[in-house]
């Protein structure tokens, strides 16, 4: 059986206080789109940071391609895992092209700072996110949604086999929400692994192969969207009564009100 691309093995993590994530284990495979869902503050973003090696777990370990993430240099890790962080604030004077090209940092060296491969990867990422017309602008002149798409292009240019996307649809209008999700799914179908924090159940059910439901730092459910996105699960995890419906391959939840405590 093929080795999982990302293995989270009994990981706990806390920011100096009580644990935000506790004894959490999951795997993500080549070509898979895994959505991470859960209420605010349940540890979704923290989990992504632990996988990316940005937070060092207090217990357990994270493997990328079978190797312990904490044993890899930042550079080698960046070649395997790219991260779309939640709130980036690039300097307003920086040119959009410059920012996207920075995705290539881990492939560059002292003398080779813009190889043909770099340029090809950047051009591909720019096409994928359809940000051609923004290239000549300064970052400060972009709207929130435009900036988000350009940051996604930077992450794609990195060319890593695993993409961690923390709320990629934030700031985006409906069209561009689906644009970025379509792009993420294309990446997965092309053999990459996508782990994305999402908020919308319908989007998760449309795009994700599997869904990981987090509740208070623990895994409340893991499986196909059909298996995980049930009325019982939403009531238990989010405290909201819903009626689930299925159409066009998607799971819809119509909220009915707060669940009885």
């Amino acid at each position: 059986m093929e080795q999982p691309r990302i293995t989270v093995d009994g990981v706990s993590f806390g920011y100096g206080g009580p644990p935000v994530i506790e004894a959490l284990s999951l795997e993500a495979r080549r070509g898979e789109f895994l959505a991470v869902l859960g209420p605010n503050g349940c540890g979704k973003s923290t989990l992504l940071k632990v996988i990316a090696g940005l937070n060092r777990p207090s217990a357990g370990r994270v493997l990328a391609g079978g190797e312990d993430v904490s044993a890899l240099s930042r550079r080698m890790l960046a070649r395997r895992i790219a991260v779309l962080t939640q709130a980036g604030s690039p300097p307003p004077n920086m040119s959009v092209h410059e920012m996207i090209a920075m995705g290539r940092y881990s492939h560059q060296s002292l003398l080779s700072r813009r190889s043909r491969e770099d340029e090809a990867a950047v051009a591909r990422a720019v096409r994928d996110m359809q940000v051609e017309e923004l290239l000549g602008k300064r970052v400060g002149a972009l709207s929130g949604g435009q900036l988000q798409r350009c940051r996604m292009a930077m992450v794609l240019a990195q060319g890593s086999e695993t993409l961690l996307l923390d709320e990629p649809t934030t700031y985006l209008d409906l069209k561009h929400q689906f644009g970025i999700l379509d792009c993420a799914r294309r990446q997965a179908r092309a053999g990459r692994t996508v782990i994305a924090v999402l908020h919308d159940f319908t989007q998760a059910s449309l795009y994700a192969d599997r869904v990981a439901m987090l509740s208070r730092g623990r895994l409340a459910g893991l499986g196909t969207p059909e298996e995980v996105l049930t009325e019982e699960m939403i009531a238990a995890v989010f405290g909201v009564r819903t009626r689930a419906a299925r159409a066009h391959g998607a799971v819809f939840h119509v909220p009915l009100g707060a669940a009885a405590p």
Binding site: R74, L77, R79, I81, P90, H97, G103, Y105, D118, L135
Partner: protein, 349 residues
């Protein structure tokens, strides 16, 4: 395909993106610097002929006539030192700005200059009336500014990659600054007025040995800065972003702070803690060439050299026979220019 950028290539080994604006601005700045050096060589009490300057620049010392020898012996080292010191303070300031992601950082602000000052003054007090050789003085200054850098990094290690480091630096700077004051006032210190002048930054006492010392440090540090400078761009995006892109941010930030200290140290040792150059030069450079860090660093160094050279030349010629030290000239003129530039920038936006 890149707007405004040309890529220099040499096979598969070398590929460097260079902004077109930089390709225009950098030679112009260099030209302005050379022209300013010529003007500065010509400026002084005794009327100077172009032929004298030409002799002073091109001939060996023995073959010069007297006026040329005067220029080569006194004005030239001072001018060379001004250009080198200005560019080094600019480099120090810009590195600190990248590290702190704050366009107002300056070696004076993070306590580096003050650390160097304290070390030099303590050294002077301990040596009593004995004269300390310039290399020893530079070593003292380096120890002082590195000490201050380590103190700042150590105290602020949890805020290393945020703006918090600036606050720690400011506190350190105020603390060390008051130690400087204490030494200056209580110091039965041999010549109070000379020390006082030095503590504001001046090139009046600079000689050929000082210029050589600055040159050596410059040759050592500039390649280092350009080599290590690759991770400056990602650092501008923020700590988590830079790490996700493959930058070991803690190591990079520590390296840049040490480098900034090393740039400031020989300048403080020879010319005193000249303030504001780092801040002004980086500001000018950013508005001239944009935001690609290596280019800003180089443009800031050229601008810093220009600023200190003009400040010193104006200070020694405008008010003759009185010489106003470069540090004071920069504080007066520089701050005015800076306020005007900041206003213009805001109006244009």
């Amino acid at each position: 395909m890149t707007p405004g950028t040309t890529v220099l290539r040499l096979g598969r080994v070398l590929s460097l993106p260079v902004g077109r604006r930089f390709l225009i601005v950098a030679p112009l700045l260099l030209l302005a610097l050379l022209a300013s050096c010529w003007l500065a060589l010509a400026a002084g009490y005794s009327g100077t002929r172009a032929a004298d300057i030409w002799q002073a620049v091109t001939l060996p010392r023995e073959a010069m006539e007297d006026p040329a020898r005067m220029i080569a012996g006194f004005r030239m080292p001072r001018i060379v030192a001004a250009v080198l010191a200005g560019s080094m303070m600019a480099a120090s300031g810009y590195l600190l700005q990248v590290v702190s992601r704050n366009g107002l950082a300056d070696p004076g602000l993070l306590g580096l200059s003050d650390g160097a000052s304290v070390a030099v003054l303590l050294g002077g007090a301990l040596a009593g009336s004995a004269v300390i050789a310039p290399p020893v003085l530079a070593a003292l200054a380096l120890a002082g500014s590195l000490g201050a850098a380590l103190l700042v990094v150590g105290l602020g290690r949890r805020m290393l990659t945020g703006g918090g480091i600036i606050l720690v630096g400011l506190a350190t700077s105020i603390f060390l600054g008051s130690i400087v004051e204490i030494i200056l006032v209580t110091g039965s210190a041999m010549n109070f007025s000379a020390l006082m002048q030095w503590s504001r930054g001046t090139l009046a006492a600079v000689d050929a040995a000082d210029a050589r010392l600055l040159g050596l440090w410059w040759l050592l540090l500039v390649p280092l800065a350009l080599g290590l400078g690759r991770s400056m761009s990602p650092l501008l995006l923020g700590d988590a972003e830079a790490r996700a892109l493959g930058v070991p941010t803690r190591a990079s930030v520590a390296a840049y702070i040490i480098l900034a200290a090393a740039f400031a140290a020989p300048v403080v040792a020879t010319c005193g803690p000249v303030a504001f150059i780092g801040l002004m030069a980086s500001y000018v450079a950013r508005s001239l060439v944009g935001d690609r860090p290596t280019e800003v660093l180089l443009a800031a160094m050229l601008s810093g050299g220009l600023i200190l050279l003009w400040a010193d030349t104006a200070g020694r010629t405008l008010f003759g026979p009185v010489q106003v030290s470069a540090g004071i000239m920069i504080s007066v003129v520089g701050v005015l220019v800076f306020v005007l530039a900041a206003r213009a920038g805001r109006l244009a936006r």
